[in-house]
Point group: C2
Chain length 352, copies 2
């Protein structure tokens, strides 16, 4: 399997079938781990970073869960390929932009991925469709155990796992979900929800993590602290808060349906009509319109499209995905045209 | 035939088939005539206005061209019916709002209509599809001749026909065309075109005549003077100027197709997508979007819709038409919903 095989593969978290997938897109757990007695990646020179990579690669490859993995050195990849992995949520922006011996390991269906020499030596992540921390935690624990059979991680009996940034010390774990909250945004309740989170030790972020915008009414929620609690307790807390947010969103959708069905249907169908007929369309307009169409599907207003198709369009309409499909670099204008072509084709617009 | 039969009748000027009907919607000639020795309608009291009506009705009915005409006294009509006739371009706003013995005569297919006791005793108009003054003039001359066989019109050998407003004295004739000029608007050439008209003795107006807005890129052009020239010369002049405007619009469309085809197609198809999918839509948004769809049809970008359908939607999406079809008074919000229902149905949107 090479990087290009990823494009059309059956990505697990895009299936749109997990628990509460009408609101919860995906659940993700990641662990930050560092090999003992070696400097953190940011402090490592070229030689040291290479050493880290050489050390961790066989440990990862020995895991039963990563048998048919794809191992990619970022220095071998083009800008476009790295952008593609970023759009797929397999690497971070910092990782993509870094130098030296950085790599990423990707399992079948993209359930498991491991960034090597990002902020920490290893950033192991497991992604699941829908609201499913249970499976994500079960799987990531096993992988962590297997890797630790070969590697000794930097660990303090007092603090727990040691990480490059103090905000990850302890469990080194971040459990997050991606939620689609259009009704809370439309009914202007979202800021109240976000404000309440701070007291609950849950952090909110945009579509592509820290510091990114909440395009398309997507929000990521994760544990704010990593220290002083067990992983299970931290996950439980995120789960509990997310359940409440899901309840609020469900209620907001119910209210919209009861009090504003015509207006909401209008906005949903207009979004659909634009996506199905545009000949030039930007990435951000697409995400925002797809958000409305997804709401339409989830509320039973649009019946002939399934979530997997919408999820696919969210990902495939992004710049690097369009260029990978065309197998060439496109100007922004060419991308806006190709994006519109893709949307018309996929949404069954007959007229070209 | 009653007023309600007009709704679905085969209106001649909506056929969209006349000469140059890709740009010229319709050609219209109207004659202002007053019976001699009677005061102009504005100066006539209730009794006098009635007298005028009683006098002109048999004269009109004696015309061979008006045999199966519909004769409607405005005082017998509801507000809605009058609004309906206004939307159909069969009466003017002033006529609809006036009191006393006002009436309108409408021929089959709405080719000929006569307002009685509008500004003048008679306002005879002939409407043709496309660019066709020849037929309009041939027909209106015959009708004028026939009516004059029975009635004596106020006429001065020096000035010609006498009319209530001095701007109509002489021929009493207004020859006008309704043009669709989206490309001149999109390429920002329209104001230059409109400015040049003054010197050419041609007046420009909006969709519903004097003082109305140029909604949907529709413009009416007509002769500015009625005096000192023969009817044929006045018509020739309007025809000559309109031919030039049509040439400019044609050229502007060609340039758009060559230089901006993608952008224009995008705008056209988005308009189509919105019309086909909206669930709430205002009258003015509809007119502006239909204008783009009509441009798409006329430029060969949209192939599965014909002009007659677009023309029909322009008229039937208006407030009084919607209410006549429903046979009841609707609130603005109810109309916006019914309008969207009509557009989705007529444009073949499957999803409701």
């Amino acid at each position: 399997m090479g990087l290009d095989d990823l494009i059309y593969q059956n990505t697990e978290w895009l299936k749109g079938t997990g628990p509460q997938s009408n609101i919860v897109i995906s659940s993700r757990i990641r662990l930050a781990r560092n090999v003992e007695k070696l400097p953190f990646s940011h402090w490592a020179d070229e030689q040291k970073e290479k050493e880290i990579l050489v050390l961790v690669q066989p440990a990862i490859q020995s895991s039963n869960y990563l048998k048919n993995m794809l191992f990619l050195k970022l220095s071998d990849l083009s800008r476009l390929d790295k952008q593609f992995l970023l759009e797929r949520h397999l690497i971070s922006r910092e990782h993509a932009e870094g130098k030296n011996s950085k790599a990423v390991v990707i399992s079948e269906k993209e359930i498991i991925s491991i960034m090597i020499n990002e902020e920490d030596h290893l950033r192991v992540q497991v992604l699941q469709s829908g609201f499913n921390f249970t499976e994500a935690w079960r799987l990531i624990s096993k992988i962590d155990e297997e890797i630790q059979a070969t590697l000794n991680f930097a660990f303090s009996s007092r603090w727990g796992y040691l990480t490059a940034c103090p905000t990850n010390v302890g469990t080194g774990m971040r459990a997050s979900v991606m939620l689609h909250l259009p009704a809370l945004v439309m009914t202007k309740q979202i800021s109240r929800v976000l404000q309440a989170l701070d007291k609950l030790s849950v952090a909110a972020r945009g579509l592509y993590g820290e510091g990114t915008e909440a395009l398309g009414n997507f929000f990521q929620f994760s544990n704010q602290i990593t220290l002083g609690h067990t992983e299970e307790d931290l996950i439980d807390n995120v789960e509990r808060v997310v359940k409440q947010i899901v309840t609020h969103e469900t209620e907001a959708r119910r209210v919209l349906m009861n009090q504003n069905k015509k207006r909401v249907s209008d906005r949903i169908w207009r979004s659909y009509g634009t996506l199905k007929n545009a000949h030039i369309i930007s990435s951000s307009e697409t995400i925002n319109l797809l958000s409305m169409v997804r709401l339409g599907v989830d509320m039973g207003i649009i019946k002939n499209i399934d979530r997997a198709k919408i999820n696919k369009l969210f990902i495939f309409s992004q710049p690097a995905h369009l260029q990978k499909m065309e197998n060439k670099i496109l100007t922004p204008m060419q991308r806006d045209i190709k994006r519109a072509d893709l949307l018309r084709k996929e949404l069954g617009g007959k007229d070209v």
